[in-house]
Amino acid sequence: MRPTPYLLHRYANPGQFLRLARALQPWLSTGAIIFLTVGIVWGLFFAPADWQQGETVRIMYVHVPMAWLASSCYLGLAICGLLSLVWRHPLADLAAIEIGPVGACAAALCLITGSLWGQPMWGTWWVWDARLTSVLVLFFLYLGHIALIRAFDEPARGQRAAAILALAGAIDLPIIKFSVQWWNTLHQPDSITLTGAPTMSMTMLWPLLITTIGFTLGVAAVIFARLSAAIHESRTRQLMARSRLNRSDRSAA
């Protein structure tokens, strides 16, 4: 098996990454469309209503994937931060710029869909519960990262500061995960764990898994497309700068 640094350096080459993205893009997009269509139609119209929550349980099929993606995208940001600070991986900073807004959207949607579920079920849009508050902190970490990475005239300084913020903010991920166990929260405990059997009916679990896979594939496709576009834009800027330099050299001569 190849050592990890070899793989890291292999995909540090933007050309290699663009080839990989071009090959994966159609599969990711097609998979996302198929899984999301099946999952959303199943969740909205065919999955059973809950005996306690009634039809409102259907919000779970979009809320849970958004919660999963908000955490996963932040984990991606933290990994990019590590790659940037330790190995100076040239694509890591570019990836962090592109992952940030996507993760922030997922976190915002997780909070909004949670509120839309909370109003009819708990009778309130918001409570300062440990799970809700830790996800709100995650959303603010995303906003901070987006602002910080663009805050300096010298991009390398902003990227370094944002990488440190991404790594430090990763402490919020285990807090989100275990908040329902560590504190007495209004938010219900996890229904799906790696160690135990799921506590929900399989007729609800299947559409949930399908929408989660669909949204994950979709977000992967969006991040690949945004990163490919950023590489093309950076190459265009380099070419234009070189052309201006050549022109000024010629006029000086």
């Binding site: 009634g54 809320h63 909004i112 869909t113 009819p120 490919s228 576009a229 093309h232 070419l239 052309s243």
Partner: protein, 55 residues
């Protein structure tokens, strides 16, 4: 059976927002990629043309 009030407006809002934002992100990324590719191709061909006319 227990009668539950109509919660479909909340469900519709949750699905509408999620699907709408996903579409905006997806279509936005695809359009940006297409624009970036077109712009790079135009700049490259402009530079090639300028280099060949200079030589």
């Amino acid at each position: 059976m227990m009668h539950l009030p109509n919660h479909w407006p909340y469900i519709a809002a949750a699905y509408g927002l999620t699907i709408g934002c996903s579409l905006v992100l997806g279509i936005g990324a695809a359009l940006r990629l297409r624009r970036a590719k077109t712009r790079l191709a135009a700049v490259e061909s402009q530079l090639r043309h300028r280099e060949s006319s200079a030589s």
